[in-house]
């Protein structure tokens, strides 16, 4: 079975996910591309393959400890990936610095317009990247699981083995720090403040 077929089977037909202890090959086939995407966003393309492979090796070791009651296989894998990535702080910081310099590689007028609306997209990115880089690891992990992996608070809690309340407080602190870092430069945030 190719990875694509495996994914289609699980994501499009709603079939139950593979169980790590029983069919780890299928776990790899279904989730490899997704976890790799997450790793590539956080670490950059060069380190992504290694980190992803490392994530699945780690997951394989722990496969008997996977508890379906505590969350989906996907959530579990994001948790392991996050820990693997967390060991590569320097790579992540480097990737963030690179991100601060270059704009998003997307086409589309709408997006370009939105960026133009900002006072200075470039400096904004730099400050945001710097702010993300200076977040404590726990807060950064929560923030990026929400922002990049679209995990719910419950899922982040399960992935990182922390309580629901801790997810909320870390996310709130992270957002406050980012807002402070950007506060002076982003009219959108000012607007939000007025509404809020």
């Amino acid at each position: 079975m190719t990875a694509i077929h495996a994914m289609e089977r699980h994501h499009m037909t709603g079939e139950p996910p593979p169980r790590p202890a029983e069919n780890f090959d299928e776990v790899i086939e279904v989730y490899f591309a997704e976890i790799r995407r997450y790793a590539a966003r956080r670490l950059g393309p060069e380190a992504a393959a290694d980190a992803t492979s490392q994530t699945f090796l780690e997951a394989f070791r722990q496969r008997r400890r996977y508890d379906p009651d505590r969350g989906h296989v996907r959530t579990w894998l994001y948790g392991i990936a996050t820990k693997v990535i967390g060991k590569q702080l320097r790579t992540e910081t480097r990737a963030l610095r690179a991100r601060a310099r270059v704009g998003p590689d997307r086409d589309g007028d709408e997006h370009a317009d939105r960026i133009d609306d900002r006072v200075s997209a470039q400096s904004l990115r730099g400050e945001l990247a710097g702010a993300v880089a200076s977040l404590p690891r726990g807060q950064r992990d929560v923030l990026l699981l929400v922002a990049l992996a679209d995990l719910s608070h419950e899922e982040v809690a399960a992935a990182l083995g922390i309580s629901y309340g801790t997810v909320g407080s870390r996310l709130s602190r992270a957002r406050t720090k980012l807002r402070k870092a950007l506060g002076g430069t982003n009219p959108m945030l000012t607007l939000e403040k007025q509404h809020g």
Binding site: D105, A147, L148
Partner: protein
């Protein structure tokens, strides 16, 4: 727009790698799962940020394309296929050996044969003589039954090329060959399964006894740690259980014999032909591969024409003198190695065979890789239903 969305924008979607790149990385990750004991250093691997290397060894010899890496999933082929060296391919086979199911009845169907050289005026060719097929099945528990049957197989040319030379020589139906210390005559006539008589028969109340007298439950407790298996089966001291049938004097004698790599291969092949649990099977394969004098050699083919991943011993030189009345053409020096071939998809043992490495002496006209003698497992597995004797004889080449 909120911070979450801004962070999302800060991390643009990277250009997705091609499906082939993903497929290759998936296959390499699966292969890496077969890594040996933790902490073993693999200096030549490309991956391995924390010393847990992947298996993309540099300068790999005998690269083979992995057709499948686990379960029955067909793998990426063509440009997306994974090239692994013999070592990695073997580890994949070992990995797959861990996932084979069990059932109610175990059976082992073994084909064995010995090659003989026929020096015909029309050209020298090789035949397989003294060939036979055995079929042993046993219920998982005592009372489920047990049976052992044998049939002699007709003498037959070893390879398609040998078959052509045999036809050129007039397709002789009886062949007289030199066998160590005497001449033997074989015929090309097919034989039936022997179901009664000496050495064979069925015990409907038997079953439940496996390797060295273990019960199926004991088999489940077979060690799965390569170090423990090495101590039990691959060190000179050895496991006394394997020598149970010998007298104390014989046992002492056996203990004094050097435990050569070829003897280890032979020992392991007999264990792998028994229903040891898949985890133990995989661990034993890995333990054997780690032995000095034993190497992964990549792909090889057994006498039944099945391709697999092989382990081999270093070559051993053999010299035949005129002793025992060897005719002149049977004398001289050649070297051989013991080879174990495993199915890549299931990790099952396919064959133990002795192969020619350096031609010479009685095998002067044969090529390296020529199979001198073998025991091939035509089938060895658990089934739910009671096994039946295969009617069709095995097909060669």
């Amino acid at each position: 727009m909120d911070e979450i969305q801004m962070v999302r924008d800060l991390y643009p979607e990277p250009a997705p790698p091609s499906a082939q790149v993903i497929a290759r990385e998936i296959a390499q990750t699966k292969a890496a799962l077969t890594e040996g004991p933790k902490g073993r250093s693999l200096p030549r691997v490309r991956w391995g940020l924390w010393g847990m290397g992947g298996l993309v060894a540099a300068g790999a010899a005998a690269a083979v394309a992995i057709a499948t890496v686990g379960g029955n999933s067909p793998s990426p082929s063509g440009p997306g296929g994974v090239k692994l060296d013999g070592k990695s391919a073997f580890l994949v086979a070992a990995y797959n050996a861990e996932r084979q199911p069990t059932g109610n009845y175990w059976h082992a169907n073994v084909v064995s044969g010995q090659s003989y050289i026929i020096r015909a005026k029309t050209g020298t060719y090789a035949v397989t003589g003294a060939a036979s097929e055995s079929f042993h099945w046993s219920g998982a528990k005592k009372g489920m039954g047990e049976s052992f049957n044998i049939r002699d197989l007709p003498v037959h040319p070893l390879t398609a090329q040998d078959a052509a030379l045999w036809r050129k020589a007039g397709s002789p139906s009886t062949l007289r060959v030199w066998s160590g210390d005497k001449y033997l005559t074989f015929t090309t006539q097919a034989q039936k399964w022997r179901v009664t008589g000496p050495e064979v028969g069925t015990d409907s109340r038997g079953g439940g006894t496996f390797l060295d007298g273990r019960s199926a439950q004991d088999m489940e407790k077979f060690p799965t740690d390569p170090a423990e298996l090495t101590r039990l089966y691959l060190s000179d001291r050895g496991d006394p259980a394997g020598l149970k049938h010998l007298t104390p004097a014989q046992r002492a004698g056996a203990a004094r014999l050097p435990y050569t790599p070829a003897a280890k291969v032979s020992r392991v092949s007999s264990i792998l032909g028994s229903p040891i649990p898949s985890k133990a099977r995989a661990a034993l394969m890995r333990a054997l591969a780690a032995q000095p004098g034993i190497h992964e050699i990549g792909r090889d083919t057994d006498p039944l024409g099945r391709q697999g991943i092989a382990l081999a011993t270093d070559a051993q030189t053999i010299t035949a003198t005129g002793e025992f009345g060897n005719p002149k053409e049977e004398q001289g020096t050649y070297s051989t190695r013991a080879v174990l071939i495993f199915d890549k998809k299931t990790g099952a043992l396919l064959s133990r065979q002795e192969e020619l490495v350096k031609p010479g002496g009685r095998y002067a006209e044969m090529k390296p890789g020529f199979i001198i003698e073998y025991q091939a497992l035509r089938s060895a597995k658990w089934t739910d239903a009671k096994p039946v004797l295969p009617a069709e004889p095995p097909s060669f080449h």
